[in-house]
């Protein structure tokens, strides 16, 4: 009886260790594949999607099901990241997202779309983008 319980415990521990290793591997693997999906990169370059003021991705023209799915997928992932980091920084998700939006708009390259403070979509040129007055320099 005692040996049986010990074996079960050992098995449970090794399972836990394996799960830990998998989780750790997944966390470590994430930064390595930190590259935009080709479809996302193409949609950005074509001006089909743009950076919204609120820190999320927006569809600039007409929304196709494929485009909508891609934008939703990215925005769900962004929201998860914002929520996690906002909690760590003792801020609200909206505050964190707006801050990220400021920076994401600043990082757009000429030809990409971004949302101006008046809500309109603008094409980034070589000049600095029109941003919310609260955005950091």
């Amino acid at each position: 009886m005692g040996t049986g319980m010990k074996t079960t415990l050992t098995r449970k521990l090794s399972l836990a260790a394996a799960a830990f290793a998998l989780a750790g591997g997944a966390i470590l693997a994430t930064p390595a594949q930190a590259q935009r999906d080709p479809a996302y990169e193409a949609a950005r370059a074509a001006g089909k999607v743009g950076e919204r003021m609120d820190g999320y991705l927006g569809i600039v023209g007409t929304a196709t099901p494929d485009l909508q799915r891609m934008v939703n997928d990215i925005n769900i992932k962004r929201r998860a990241v914002y929520a996690q980091r906002a909690q760590a920084a003792n801020a609200t998700v909206e505050e964190y997202a707006l801050t990220a939006g400021c920076i994401a708009i600043a990082k757009t390259v000429p030809g990409e779309k971004y949302q101006a403070p008046d809500g309109s979509w603008q094409t980034r040129t070589g000049a600095p983008p029109q941003r919310d007055s609260r955005c950091p320099a």
Binding site: Q35, I74, K107
Partner: protein, 86 residues
Amino acid sequence: MIPAELTARCAAATTLAMQGGARPITRAIRSLVLVTAGAAALGGCISVEAPERPIVIELNINIRQEVIYRLAADAGNTIEENADIF
């Protein structure tokens, strides 16, 4: 040295009747009048009505610049660490 004597003298103790105060029956009438006045005041309650439309608070305008400045460096790192979704 401090001289050992009283610093202030007190008047001798007197009863209410000796001071010419109100008699018990007069006081009873006075308090009755006060209670009646209080009851009348309670009748004039102020009523506050709820607005027909719900109160919507626009949270976006409450985000202050100082908060954004505090988060800017952290958010910049987040974008670089998650370059696949930005």
